[in-house]
């Protein structure tokens, strides 16, 4: 029957459309990353790795503010060795963050960087950063974590200060994945 066939074809198409849209929902994730790269939307630094040396623009100096944040449940002491830097665009700058683990257990941490204003993110090249890898520390241990970056000479004139923050997350294997259950079961007495 013609009508039934027309129905079947239409339904198949519509079903396919909804499956495609389900896929599109997931495709939004990489699309968003591309979008952020282009617009600096979420202050993610995308320029990493070695850079070619360029002429340093000594006429201009940019304030770089370094910030450290501990995410919830992260007991490490964590902070930049210098919290405010003056950097000439094009200049290779080396600094460090220090972390120490005051607990008695071995812990693994991941630092997540973020830049404000977001527009500045694409002009900040990170040549070497401790945030590329996770960091493990024995109980009572301490570490100096290097950070090497360069500000692009193309940084828009209107930007005078760049804030670079690192948030330290606890990703110790004995807690990840069970995090949610622990909270809720609350078998713990405190």
């Amino acid at each position: 029957m013609d009508a039934a066939q027309a129905n079947r074809r239409l339904i198949l198409r519509l079903l396919m459309a909804s499956v495609l849209m389900f896929g599109f929902g997931f495709a939004l994730v990489p699309l968003y990353d591309v979008f952020c790269k282009v617009t600096g939307l979420n202050g993610r630094i995308t320029a990493t790795g070695p850079v070619d040396a360029v002429a340093v623009d000594t006429a201009r100096s940019v304030k770089v503010r370094l910030i450290a944040i501990n995410n919830e449940g992260m007991p490490w002491a964590f902070g930049p060795t210098e919290s405010l830097l003056r950097v000439n665009p094009g200049e290779m700058k080396q600094t460090a963050y220090r972390a120490s683990n005051p607990t008695t257990r071995r812990m693994v941490a991941q630092a997540i960087p973020s830049v404000s204003p977001g527009e500045a993110a694409q002009y900040l090249h990170k040549i070497n950063c401790f945030c590329f890898d996770s960091q493990a520390l024995e109980g009572g241990g301490a570490i100096d974590m290097p950070l090497m970056f360069m500000i692009d000479t193309d940084l828009p004139e209107s930007i005078h200060t760049i804030t670079l923050s690192y948030t330290l997350f606890d990703i110790s294997p004995d807690k990840t994945g069970t995090a949610e259950n622990d909270t809720q079961e609350g078998g713990s007495p405190i």
Binding site: R65, I67, I69, G73, M74, A77, L84, R98, S158, I190
Partner: protein, 382 residues
């Protein structure tokens, strides 16, 4: 939650207290910054535009309702399109909107001005308090709600600044460009002070910025504006704007206080002193979750009364209070409280509500632990 009697009591209290503060506030406040005043002007402009459109549209409508009713013998006129009229009533609102977009864009650009600031303050949202770090000033504190539980529970008349009062104000200098760097420790919060027209989300793992330049000294109150869990409604913001000289004075005072506090940790405290201070600290920092009676709200917030931690090994107890418990709501309090406060509250937890270990934890003991663990790092040493 309560019996009928407490409800009635609460009602009568609330009625009597609120009538004294009745305000019937209708509108945005123009605020105390240049930006907030332009926001207010924009708001009023768009509001009057809406009123004007409303008067015209509803005017025509009610005129039709009145004159073109069948009971008045109205006959339907059969017209059902008129392209010119339709184009006109599309273009006119479009023009109005474009006219509106111009000042709106200008204000927005002003809000995003990225010229250099004179003072940087980092604001970190926690469940359910704010932390203010004056970068370059070696000053860092938490700001907790101080409204007593009894007022919230209607057992006591409510104060003037009910739910909008905190233990430590964010003190800022006037006539100074201040950059606010926002982030969060756990979930998304949003820092909002209406008088400054600043509202920015604090997102965990990310940094956001806003700026303000306050014109008039005064106390400006705001609240968290993004649902962040149970006590979202109980983490107010209080900004105290003071003239720059007074601000410097305040900085000096706070730093002196900090030194005094360190000295206080050296002195020896009696159990009673610790208990008295411990109770205050407990009600401020712990009671929201573990409850004033120490019974908690299991399973998320376990009881402390009779708990094996509070009655067991003191080292474990201190460790949990200082460093928190990973993956639970229990936070690390090492940065939030001073050594003497920590000692007092741990002592209190071990000796209140029938927990009677008789043990006193001394501030110097805590200070040693804090220093011993953290001496490799000068956090905020700048």
């Amino acid at each position: 939650m309560g019996t009928i009697r407490t409800i009635i009591f609460g009602l009568s209290l609330a009625l009597s207290s609120h009538s004294a503060h009745a305000e019937w506030a209708l509108n945005l406040s123009p605020g105390v910054t240049e930006v907030s005043r332009s926001v207010y002007d924009l708001h009023m402009t768009i509001f009057w535009i809406c009123v004007a459109i409303g008067v015209v549209v509803f005017g025509v409508m009610f005129w039709s309702i009145f004159h073109h009713r069948k009971s008045r013998g109205a006959e339907a006129h059969h017209f059902h399109e008129h392209t010119l009229v339709e184009v006109a009533w599309t273009i006119v609102p479009l023009g109005i909107l474009i006219a509106m977009a111009v000042p709106a864009t200008a204000t927005l650009v002003k809000m995003y001005d990225s010229s250099e600031a004179d003072l940087d303050v980092q604001i970190t949202g926690y469940q359910w308090k704010w932390r203010y770090t004056y970068l370059d000033q070696d000053l860092d504190f938490f700001s907790n709600l101080t409204t007593p539980q009894e007022q919230i529970g209607n057992q006591q008349a409510k104060g003037e600044h009910y739910l909008l009062e905190v233990d430590r104000h964010l003190v800022l200098p006037t006539d100074t460009k201040i950059r606010l760097l926002l982030t969060a420790n756990d979930v998304i919060h949003s820092w909002w002070v209406p008088a400054l027209a600043v509202k920015k989300d604090a997102v965990p793992g990310f940094i956001n910025e806003a700026w303000t330049r306050i014109d008039e000294p005064g106390i400006y109150r705001g609240q968290c504006a993004e649902l962040c869990g149970k006590d979202h409604g109980f983490m107010p913001i209080v900004v105290e704007a003071v003239p720059p000289e007074q601000f410097q004075q305040w900085l000096a005072e706070v730093k002196a206080e900090k030194l005094a506090e360190a000295a206080a940790a050296e002195k020896s405290w009696t159990l009673d002193e610790l208990m008295t201070q411990g109770e205050q600290v407990y009600l401020r920092a712990c009671a929201a979750c573990h409850q004033p009676t120490g019974t908690g709200v299991p399973p998320a917030f376990p009881a402390l009364k009779g708990s094996p931690i509070a009655l067991g090994d003191v080292g474990t107890h201190i460790d949990i209070v200082l460093n928190g418990r990973p993956a639970t709501a229990m936070q690390a309090f090492r940065d939030q409280l001073s050594a003497s406060e920590l000692a007092a509250v741990i002592t209190y937890e071990r000796n209140a509500w029938g927990n009677s270990t008789g043990e006193a934890v001394s501030p110097s003991q805590i200070a040693e632990m804090l220093a011993g663990n953290a001496d490799t790092v000068g956090e905020g040493a700048q």
